[in-house]
């Protein structure tokens, strides 16, 4: 699990993130929402160690993130970036297999995990194909399978960070992806996901951090955070908030 206290990140001369405190707890999915430029990707960058904090701390299992040796950190923390620039013709199962590199579990076990991860990302049928021959959405699912494989089976002690994992996916796969992520959390993993779709966040997240201009606007359950007033203030959007007829979570409708 990841604990963040009073995080401040400065890039160039601009304070991109300020005063953010949160913890990504085991078994929970934490969604991060906000308009473009609100600092969501910066937050992710700081949480995975890509960006250094000007002030504040990031602790992974109560140890500062920077103190973790690379391999051990990779066994506990995985990051799915927004886009991938892989330009070589690996087979899909080889790409997913790279998720097992931090571990020393042996070929047989790795192959089982790769298969299971591909299954969870609904990409098992792509296993033998060349990565370069896939569409954007298919590639995204392959990388999801890779990070799932990295933390498989997703028990307590594993943390998963995802940066807009549904951006290139069709509606069905948006849901299957988040269901896989949810499944991971249900088995005990801690998950933080950046989303831009308010309804997906409402359905799959236990808590939501709403960012505005680098500062936390709200940090609570979806019901509490996704209110018309807050959404108008942060996104500038007039919305109606209703309850989902079958599931009961907030349903945001633009007016």
């Amino acid at each position: 699990m990841l604990q963040v206290s009073d995080l401040q990140v400065i890039r160039g001369h601009k304070t991109v993130l300020d005063g953010v405190s949160l913890d990504v707890a085991p078994g929970q999915v934490l969604g991060v929402l906000g308009p473009n430029g609100a600092g969501k990707s910066t937050l992710l960058g700081a949480l995975c160690g890509e960006l250094s904090a000007h002030r504040g701390r990031v602790l992974l299992h109560e140890r500062p993130l920077a103190d973790w040796p690379g391999q051990e950190r990779a066994q506990r923390l995985a990051v799915l970036p927004q886009a991938s620039s892989l330009g070589f013709a690996f087979r899909v199962e080889e790409v997913v297999g790279m998720g097992r590199l931090p571990h020393r579990t042996g070929q047989v076990r790795d192959r089982e995990i790769v298969t299971a991860a591909l299954q969870a990302a609904d990409a098992l049928h792509l296993a033998e194909r060349s990565y370069l021959a896939l569409s954007g959405g298919e590639r995204q699912r392959v990388h999801l399978a890779r990070v799932l494989a990295q933390l498989w089976p997703g028990e307590a002690g594993r943390t998963l960070l995802l940066d807009e994992p549904t951006s290139a996916l069709d509606p069905l796969h948006q849901h299957t992806t988040l269901q896989a992520v949810r499944g991971f959390a249900d088995r005990g993993a801690a998950v933080l996901v950046i989303l831009h779709d308010l309804n997906l966040a409402a359905r799959y997240c236990d808590r939501i951090l709403l960012l505005e201009n680098g500062r936390p606007y709200a940090f609570d359950t979806p019901e509490q955070v996704l209110q018309p007033g807050a959404l108008k203030a942060v996104f500038g959007l007039d919305v109606l908030v209703q309850r989902h007829p079958e599931r009961g979570h907030p349903l945001i409708i633009a007016r």
């Binding site: 990051v79 330009g87 013709a89 690996f90 080889e94 590199l101 194909r129």
Partner: protein, 345 residues
């Protein structure tokens, strides 16, 4: 998608190819030696007690001329191919080439300084001359690469894109400097410089061979150990970091290996192009981009290819000799065009 060949088949085939190349390189040449003599000398060189009557010429040709040349070809071909893999991994681009970090142009500049400079100084004692040339070429290659690396790094972070641009700029600068030396050189020196630029395995001897063999062995043992890290690097620098690899250290190692290996190869044999570009490409076409297969396979393929090219260089115009850089260019360039066209189709 099925790979054209499985790794096992590939290694067996390449191993056999390499053995064939070595054999042909030892058995064929402008001097035609009867097969039985070649075999007898071979056994004697291995230390077996075989009768040596009438074998003096064969022993000289094989032991002093062809064998060191074959070893040189193996080492140069292997290290150039490995450096090609390393650079294509570093720049995450299959069109990358060891020359991108400036090592080739730096070595050419070092050689130009040695060749032209020694005529200015009024000649160098002949015993030093070949060592001086090799040393200057090696230092030139290392120097320019170090500069490219420094320009591309800031606060411990190396930007590959910046390094690429720095490499282009410094290569242009080094080439202009070589041009200046070319202008200032007299006719005879100019010819020497030109021939050096074309590359040759001519005049290989054991004394000049061992530094390169040491370096090549080092690179050949070191790089395959970083195969998994190179695979991860292809995903992207952040992704590789998230998988637990020390990416900055890896980039530094790749640049260093390339500079050292290519610098030593160029110092020993002049500029030989296309091996670093074409060999990894070819192996990838056959067996995919996994570095655990790519690295050892490229080593074997590069060594074999260079030995075959040298055969052509030695035999095509016998008793004269073609510079080997011409042969590799003639083979490499059309092949490369073919790859490009095929990729577009």
């Amino acid at each position: 998608m099925t790979r054209l060949v499985s790794p096992r088949t590939l290694f067996i085939a390449l191993g056999l190819l390499c053995l064939l190349a070595v054999w042909l390189s030892l058995a064929l040449g402008p001097v035609s030696l009867p097969l039985i003599d070649t075999l007898r000398v071979g056994l004697r060189l291995l230390g077996l007690p075989v009768n040596g009557d009438g074998l003096e010429q064969a022993e000289l040709i094989l032991g002093q001329i062809r064998l060191p040349r074959t070893l040189l070809g193996l080492a140069v071909g292997a290290v150039l191919a490995l450096a090609g893999v390393a650079m294509q991994g570093l720049f995450r681009n299959p069109l990358a080439d060891p020359g991108l970090v400036g090592v080739s142009s730096g070595a050419a500049l070092g050689a130009a300084i040695a060749i032209v400079g020694s005529t200015w100084v009024g000649g160098v004692p002949e015993v030093f001359a070949p060592y001086l040339l090799s040393l200057c070429a090696f230092l030139g290659g290392l120097g320019v690469t170090a500069l490219v690396y420094r320009l591309g790094s800031k606060e411990g972070q190396t930007s590959v894109a910046t390094m690429l641009l720095a490499g282009i700029a410094l290569t242009a600068l080094a080439s202009s400097a070589v041009g200046l030396f070319t202008y200032l050189a007299d006719d005879a020196t100019l010819r020497t410089l030109t021939f050096w630029n074309l590359g040759s395995l001519n005049g290989a001897s054991y004394q000049r061979l061992w530094p390169l063999v040491l370096v090549a062995t080092g690179v050949a043992l070191w790089l395959p150990r970083r195969a998994e890290a190179l695979n991860a690097l292809l995903l992207g620098e952040s992704e590789a970091r998230h998988l637990g690899f020390e990416v900055e250290k890896l980039k530094r190692e790749l640049v260093f290996c390339t500079a050292l290996g290519v610098g030593a190869a160029v110092a020993a044999a002049g500029l030989i192009g296309f091996i670093g570009l074409v060999v990894p490409h070819l192996v990838r076409l056959l067996a995919g981009p996994d570095h655990r297969v790519l690295l050892p396979a490229s080593l074997l393929a590069g060594a074999s290819l260079l030995l075959f090219a040298d055969l052509i260089a030695r035999l095509a115009l016998a008793p004269a000799e073609l510079p080997i850089g011409i042969v590799t260019a003639f083979i490499g360039a059309p092949f490369f065009l073919y790859l490009l066209l095929r990729g577009r189709a």
